[in-house]
Symmetry: C2
Subunit: 106 residues, 2 copies
DNA sequence: ATATTAGTTCGATAAATCTAGAATTATCGT
DNA sequence: ACGATAATTCTAGATTTATCGAACTAATAT
């Protein structure tokens, strides 16, 4: 992971709609979710969502594959891990991140 | 850390100049670095750099305080940690990030 | 064949961002 | 007070991004 790749990924995740969509993909695991399912959560027009998803795909953070009539989206877990690892190493003083036991709100 | 805060931080770090500047601040530790020192590394016009730093400050990722003629910039380590922790929890399947022993290039 | 569903691509507009020179402010030394 | 240094603020142009309706493409069902 170099700084150009990292800033590209961060830039794409630096949009509330895309970050939320990516979060959904991660939470969904390897099975992923369809575009329609993402749309139900984000509640934005199809064309806008499609645009955001194509951003994630362009950055390599997500993949899409057709399954009949639906398009299934999956996160690129390797890249997500590499990005967090990069941030820990380069932008977090090598923070020894501990596994979270509970979700934090603030 | 909520999703709005996270996407705001990610967006600000999603620019090569700002990411590099922030990386310098983190690496510099609590003593921080002056704007001039950052400029030597980034090699961009003062006004452009100032603009980028003000972005980081606005997002809460950095702080500035005057020291005579120079302005000393420091990273907000707590926020950096909170951001990485959020990403691990929400966008990385709760990745159990290990402490890095060596820097990676790819 | 036609209709329906799922989603993309096109096109146009509004808004935000990036860049950088010029002018300005703040501090220090003489 | 004046000049030099450090950095910001102002201003403006160029580029990029976000949004979303309309038209289009792909796959299925009748």
């Amino acid at each position: 992971m170099d700084i150009e790749t990292a800033s590209k990924c961060l830039s794409e995740l630096g949009n509330p709609h895309r970050l939320e969509a990516f979060r959904l993909l991660i939470k969904a695991g390897p099975e992923g979710v369809t575009v329609g399912e993402i749309q139900k959560h984000l509640n934005i027009p199809k064309s806008t969502l499609s645009h955001h998803i194509s951003h994630l795909v362009w950055a390599g953070l997500a993949r899409q594959e057709r399954e009949g009539r639906v398009l299934r989206c999956t996160a690129n877990f390797e890249l997500a891990d590499a990005l967090v690892t990069y941030l820990c190493a380069e932008c977090c003083n090598g923070l020894d991140v501990v596994q979270l036991d509970e979700t934090q709100d603030a």
